[in-house]
Symmetry: C2
Subunit: 320 residues, 2 copies
């Protein structure tokens, strides 16, 4: 039987589970909607079922399970302390519950910290010691590796780049704050801004309203390509905010590389193109000269590969 770990990526809208070997290759994978409104018990059951299906398909008994979750994760206690986009998971001992259900060692961590580990080891972050990872999907997550070490912080909650304010006293975020990066460039923020502008311009025949009522990055990209003016202005506005975030990241961390990923950036490549101009114009020159902006190499599998790699590192190799 092959050695493998399970990686689980719990996002605001999707759960992604995979069996991953020590070389970071996915042997089997399953996805399901998060449906967090069904509660924590249902989430544990969904993850466990997907994990069992993957293990059956790949014919492996997993050595460990790594779970990455968008939120403030107490890895040592195995507890989700809070999660702006999954509020039902507040103070949930997800590690313990999933470990009991699967009868396997489980480690939980912040989703972006897992992704950064995956990109650093197997993806677009290979070979550098100063790396920032920024993913824009439903929410905005970040993680930092500095001087070859993950940025952890006093309680383990460091790296929340999506919750840097870029507009003092600005738009309300899903976290307690205002004016955060996430409140301007995340999937939920773009959808809210689109709805707001459509309400303000009822005369506008929206090229980007979608059948299911929520405008996605994909809808906006299509409308933008078709020359829709509202889509253009939404994207230009978001790019200005993403640009400010990249300037802050560059000036504060002086990274060798920034790895960008997530559904919104994959769906709206023009957003990064515009934000780069702000980065070039506004950041401190000596830091700008050293930074490379690259796309995630692991793409939509970054979360699963990263979480599994995390469990390999922390549970299998460190504590065999």
């Amino acid at each position: 039987m092959r050695d493998a770990c399970i990686g689980v990526d719990v996002g605001g809208s999707k759960i992604h589970v995979g069996v991953v070997n020590r070389e970071g290759q996915i042997l089997a994978t399953r996805r399901a909607p998060t449906e967090i409104e069904r509660g924590a018990a249902a989430l544990v059951e969904t993850i466990a079922t997907l994990a069992e299906q993957c293990c059956d398909e790949a014919s492996v008994a997993p050595l460990a399970v790594g779970v990455g979750i968008a939120g403030q994760i107490d890895t040592r206690a195995g507890v989700v302390r809070s999660s702006p986009n999954l509020p039902e998971l507040r103070e949930v001992a997800l590690g313990l519950r999933l470990g009991e259900r699967l009868q396997c060692r489980v480690i939980i961590t912040n989703d972006l910290r897992a992704i950064a580990r995956g990109e650093w080891r197997f993806g677009a972050g290979r070979g550098v010691s100063d790396l920032v990872v920024l993913f824009i999907g439903t929410g905005v997550g970040g993680a930092v590796i500095t001087g070859g070490q993950p940025l952890v912080g006093a309680g383990g909650f460091a790296g929340e780049l999506g919750h840097m304010p870029i507009v003092a006293n600005g738009r309300k975020c899903h976290c307690p704050g205002r004016g955060c990066v996430e409140a301007y460039v995340s999937g939920w923020a773009l959808a809210a801004r689109a709805a707001e502008l459509l309400a303000l311009h009822p005369e506008h025949t929206p090229a980007f309203s979608s059948a299911h009522g929520v405008v996605t990055a994909h809808d906006l990209a299509g409308a933008f390509a078709a020359g829709d003016m509202l889509a253009e202005s939404i994207i230009a506005e978001a790019a200005q905010h993403l640009g400010a975030a990249l300037v802050g990241i560059t000036n504060v961390f002086n990274p060798a590389r920034i790895v960008l990923g997530g559904g919104v950036l994959e769906g709206l490549p023009h957003l990064v193109h515009l934000a780069k101009k702000t980065l070039e114009r506004d950041s401190i020159a000596v830091s700008y000269n050293r930074v490379e902006l690259v796309h995630s190499a692991l793409g939509s599998e970054a979360g699963v590969i990263g979480a599994a790699t995390w469990s390999w590192d922390e549970l299998v190799l460190e504590n065999p």
Copy 2:
């Protein structure tokens, strides 16, 4: 003869030089205006003269000299790459020139990185491994210690907390950027905002215009205490921006302690009082619960003690 190093703090408006022993005690000290418009050669001469005076007074031959400068410093090459508030120092080999003049080993570094070392070893940062230092004077400088290590970055320029944008596409900063923390809360920004508001309200008899034409934190504090409404609104506005900066720092670094200092914060304690309310309301709870806001313990001597401590560490102890 006693063992001692020289610490030099080169700020936007003042140079401060001191002889410091290994316990972080100042044995003699001198100050002079920076007068950077006289050029780099005059700056080197001023620093050297002050250093010689201090050494005479304390009767020491220094083991090494440490210099902290507000700007992007290439410590290995001994070169100031750039400095938003001392533009004349662009690409100046200050370390080499000062070493030749003083016939002594010299190390140069970012002023806040030196201050953080001083506060960490001898001041308000003792005992914690996750520390952020934010000083607001003429400009705004920052430095970070994370997991017991200084945040350095790929080129050594990390920690520029004063140049995080907190207002996307906002006020022009002295750095290439817009909307930076420094453009809203620094000494120069408060003076500019005061001038702007006084021009807008010619009917206002300013309680805070000063004889020398530039409004200082001290002038504003006096006017605020006397109930001046313009001073009140300038301070409230700055506090909102400082609050956003503290939220970003707390969410991104999850520090155990934030050490605040510098002339503007010393002159305007009310600014921190107001900004704390934003920090409490807006930051991610698990990170807010862990952070202490404290004042610099080394105060106006932090730069000199820090720079001297840096030279002790890097030149005397590491390379005796």
